[in-house]
């Protein structure tokens, strides 16, 4: 009955299909929750996934990972243990002087027609170190890679000039010096916020108040050397990219990509089903399930780095109590969460890292749902049957982002119900994204939070450790639960600097055992990164930033 109705709807929609204008070549309509809000990767929109799609496809990095084949659903994977040149052709490293030498690709043209040179790389790093943008991600990544001078000093009166950390040897050779031995260097270079700008174009749009052209980059154009150029941008509505004919890896097969804002997932699903659009993502699990049965539509996905987790703040009593954390972990209704939020397509997350990350091992400590054991641990923690927890009404509040309430709300409800079963009463507290991010990442005072946004863009266990688990004193950056363990900090330091892979592996293993034993987080589910797309479309490849590279797509006529 329902499907009959939908078929009728699809038929009704057909006459509305705009006829493809003659001579336009291949065009892809990509439905997204939003179009890019800003294009500066050091700007306010950088953390927004829908904005990243914009600059990621308009710029290119120095290095990236090679493609390593595809999973059984046809999604291509990358090999995170090897690197491949992009704007850099080759490189070598001198351990004695901590210096990397990159030979840059010649004859690369930007959308504006400028040629790529060493000056572009230097401009980009100098701009990053100036920390002039609202979100200095380039500087932040530079500091993760230990590029000389990229440290906290820039905020405390230290130099914001690049100095001699980067040296131009000739037009197509540069040297980058590190301040310490750091294995994450190349991993960091694959991240979007390290992509070189077209410095000629950027300088043209600089103003005395804004010498690094942040306003231009954020509101007009991300001038880079990528496969696509901006054709049209109506904020909150439509974002149109046109293939860069001079792209150095060849002209993209799809000439024009229209990214259209369709905020409601149900509407994205329907439009895709009707054949009007060719690609979309971030649907609800049930919409994906229904689309997978539709004609002309494929649904495919991969277990990448997307997860669901609950953060318990280590500084907020009673969550400083390890037994209580374990009791909570053992009470989690993982199968039910998977059914409610992911149509049963998610799998219990048995670690603090996902399987695709370079260096992953499955840790020994495991917390499968066991209510008796949970109650017992709760009693051992000093709260038999939950008695004594009434002293912490403000701590027992599970927060999540209100904007995503339709999906996180039901999950939080199931968690609330499961915790009530062992005697832990909690309230739900949806907060606007803004407030949620502020309290979780800046003030770090959210007692309990439910989130699915912890996705390390550097696909490496050591990188993720630095991001999430290392204490702030030891250089941790995004440690949302205030987790702190000196032993872990030490292991991380060794793993980051140990050049010999054979001696590094046991360190990386130990890191994973420790965070899992301590329950730095309560890992809940590993979820699939999924797309629904026309069966004429192929070449989808999973990247750690979860943005598709439009260049890699092929659209059959």
């Amino acid at each position: 009955m329902r499907f009959k109705g939908l078929a009728a709807a699809a038929l009704a929609a057909l006459p509305l299909l705009a006829p493809p204008a003659a001579g336009q070549g291949t065009q892809l309509l990509y439905l997204a929750e939003d179009v890019p809000a800003g294009l500066d990767y050091d700007g306010p929109a950088v953390t927004v996934n829908t904005s990243q799609v914009g600059f990621i496809n308009m710029m290119d990095t120095l290095v990236d990972y090679p493609i390593a084949g595809e999973n059984d659903e046809g999604i291509r994977r990358l090999d995170f243990s090897r690197f491949e040149g992009r704007l850099a052709e080759s490189w070598d490293y001198d351990a004695a002087t901590l210096t990397w030498t990159f030979r840059l690709r010649q004859g690369v043209k930007s959308c504006a027609g400028n040629t790529f040179t060493a000056d572009d790389v230097i401009y980009t790093l100098a701009r990053g170190k100036s920390v002039s943008g609202t979100a200095p991600i380039n500087w932040f990544l530079g500091s993760l890679a230990s590029i000389a001078g990229f440290d906290r000093g820039v905020f405390t009166g230290g130099s914001r000039e690049l100095g001699d950390a980067v040296e131009k040897v000739d037009d197509h050779t540069i040297r980058i010096r590190q301040s310490a031995s750091n294995n994450l260097f190349l991993t960091v270079l694959t991240v979007y916020s390290m992509a070189p700008f077209d410095s000629v174009e950027m300088r043209k749009n600089a103003t005395p108040e804004d010498p690094w052209s942040h306003t231009y980059a954020n509101t007009v154009n991300a001038a880079g050397f990528g496969p696509y150029c901006l054709e049209r941008w109506v904020k909150g509505d439509e974002f149109v990219l046109r293939a860069n004919p001079d792209y150095y890896r060849g002209r993209p097969q799809i000439d024009r990509v229209v990214i259209k804002r369709v905020p409601q997932s149900a509407n994205r699903a329907l439009t895709l089903r009707s054949g009007q659009a060719q690609l979309t993502q971030r649907l609800t699990a049930r919409e994906f399930e229904q689309l997978s049965r539709a004609r002309g539509v494929r649904v495919a996905g991969i277990f990448g780095n997307e997860t669901l987790l609950m953060g318990l703040n280590w500084r907020t009593p009673p969550f400083d109590n390890p037994k209580l954390r374990q009791a909570i972990a053992l009470a989690m209704p993982l199968q039910q969460l998977s059914r409610i939020g992911y149509a049963g397509q998610a799998r219990p997350w048995e670690a603090h890292f996902t399987e695709v990350l370079n260096g992953y091992v499955r840790p020994e400590a495991q917390y499968p749902q066991n209510l008796d054991r949970a109650r017992q641990l709760l009693a051992e923690a000093g709260y038999p049957g939950g008695r004594g927890l009434e002293a912490f009404p403000d701590a027992l509040r599970l927060s999540f982002t209100a904007e995503r309430e339709s999906y996180l709300g039901p999950l939080a409800t199931a968690i609330q119900s499961a915790l009530r079963d062992i005697g832990v009463p909690i309230q739900l507290d949806p907060l606007p994204q803004t407030q949620f991010a502020d309290r979780r990442m800046v003030k770090k005072d959210l007692p309990m939070s439910l989130s699915d946004t912890e996705k390390p863009v550097g696909p490496d266990v050591v990188y993720a450790t630095r991001l999430f688990f290392v204490s702030p004193q030891a250089g941790g950056v995004n440690n949302i639960t205030n987790y702190s363990n000196p032993e872990l900090d030490r292991l991380f330091g060794e793993a980051q600097t140990e050049p010999d892979p054979a001696r590094r592996a046991p360190l990386v293993n130990q890191i994973q055992q420790i965070v899992q034993r301590d329950l730095a987080w309560i890992p809940l589910l590993e979820t699939r990164t999924q797309w629904a797309f026309s069966d004429r479309l192929s070449g989808l490849t999973w990247h750690p930033d979860n943005s598709l590279r439009l260049f890699e797509l092929r659209l059959a006529p």
Binding site: A9, A18, L31, N218, P263, P432, T434, A437, D438
Partner: protein, 340 residues
């Protein structure tokens, strides 16, 4: 007449200034921190302070208000018609509102006119024999329609006319995603497509307006029928209608005379209603994914985008006051006793 108009204008202006003042300080009193969202991933204390400075939030509140109004030397503010820049997109708020407001106004104005056209005959039927069967039935209808959750009816209409029957397009916005919108002149899709001679876009635009307008007309007809009925009953009972009846005028003639006198006072109430509808447009926009001023308001509130929030409230209030004023003047023109 000029004195009347200028008095009304002055009152409206005072109200807007009051609104600007209240909105500005009220949102700053609420327990929310707008700086945080701009700081993002790497939020050090320094980055926080930088962002705070870039928003101008480190200055004394009075100074912020001064520059918001545009009375401080060198600042551009409300007096210059400048709402400031959005903290989210960096674009001028005035420009963003110029894009979203017509979408809402188009929907509401079309619905209003249609609802009025439907409601006047209904209200008149009621008033011909107050208390009769037709009056009671119509009145029950108006009571019902006027007390309905429009967002729910919108969803029901989507279910019936889109999911089941396939007559309406997907509730995806103002136009089909693949069609090219006409060049922006007025911002009203229907008007612009006619101006551009783009009949395909016009049909598409009307097609997409169908369900939201149906929903709005349904709920709007409630209060309007009641309004027309009440005024008609009053007029029909008045001395001059009794006199007209006594003089043997045909019921049709009498109804025409009565209608004019009944509609005049209804205009003022319509003005109030229009303002309310404009402020509540967010519900219908959410249901049909229309990117109007209501959706813009939701977006701005969730992002703590203060310049945008302030502008939304002021613009909606200003448009409401303007419509109210125009209808009031119309009323005064129909009933000159008011001007005095």
């Amino acid at each position: 007449m000029i004195g009347f108009v200028s008095r009304r204008l002055a009152t409206a202006l005072v109200q807007l200034v009051g609104l600007a003042l209240v909105v500005f300080f009220a949102i700053r009193l609420l327990p929310a921190d707008p700086v945080a969202r701009l700081v993002g991933l790497n939020a050090s204390r320094d980055a926080y302070l930088t962002a705070q400075r870039s928003l101008g939030l480190d200055r004394p509140v009075a100074e912020q208000f001064g520059s918001y109004l545009g009375v401080l030397p060198g600042s551009s503010g409300l007096l210059q018609g400048d709402f400031g820049r959005s903290w989210v997109t960096g674009d001028p708020v005035a420009q963003e509102i110029g894009r979203v407001l017509p979408i809402t106004l188009e929907l509401i104005t079309v619905s209003f006119v249609l609802a009025f056209l439907v409601s006047v005959p209904l209200g008149m039927i009621c008033a011909i024999r107050p208390g009769g069967a037709a009056d009671r039935a119509t009145f029950a209808y108006s009571l019902f329609a006027g007390s309905q959750p429009e967002f729910w009816w919108g969803l029901l209409f989507i279910f019936v006319f889109f999911a089941e029957l396939g007559w309406a397009p997907a509730p995806l916005g103002r136009l089909d995603p693949m069609s090219t919108p006409p060049a922006v002149v007025t911002g009203f899709i229907t008007v612009d497509s006619l101006l551009a001679g783009n009949m395909a876009a016009f049909r598409d635009g009307v097609h997409h307006l169908m369900l939201p307008v149906l929903t709005k007309v349904f709920v709007l007809s409630g209060p309007i029928v009641k309004m027309v009925r009440q005024n008609m009953v009053r007029v029909m009972a008045s001395d001059y209608v009794l006199f007209a009846q006594a003089s043997g005028l045909t019921p049709g003639r009498i109804a025409r005379i009565a209608l004019k006198n009944a509609l005049a006072p209804a205009l003022t109430l319509l003005g109030v209603l229009y303002g309310y509808i404009l402020g509540g447009a967010v519900l219908i926009e959410t249901v049909f994914s229309l990117g109007g001023i209501g959706s813009y308001a939701v977006r701005s509130v969730l992002a703590f985008d203060y310049p945008a929030i302030q502008a939304v409230v002021l613009v909606i209030a200003a448009v409401s006051l303007l419509v109210y004023l125009v209808l009031d003047l119309l009323h005064a023109a129909l009933d000159p006793r008011l001007v005095g």
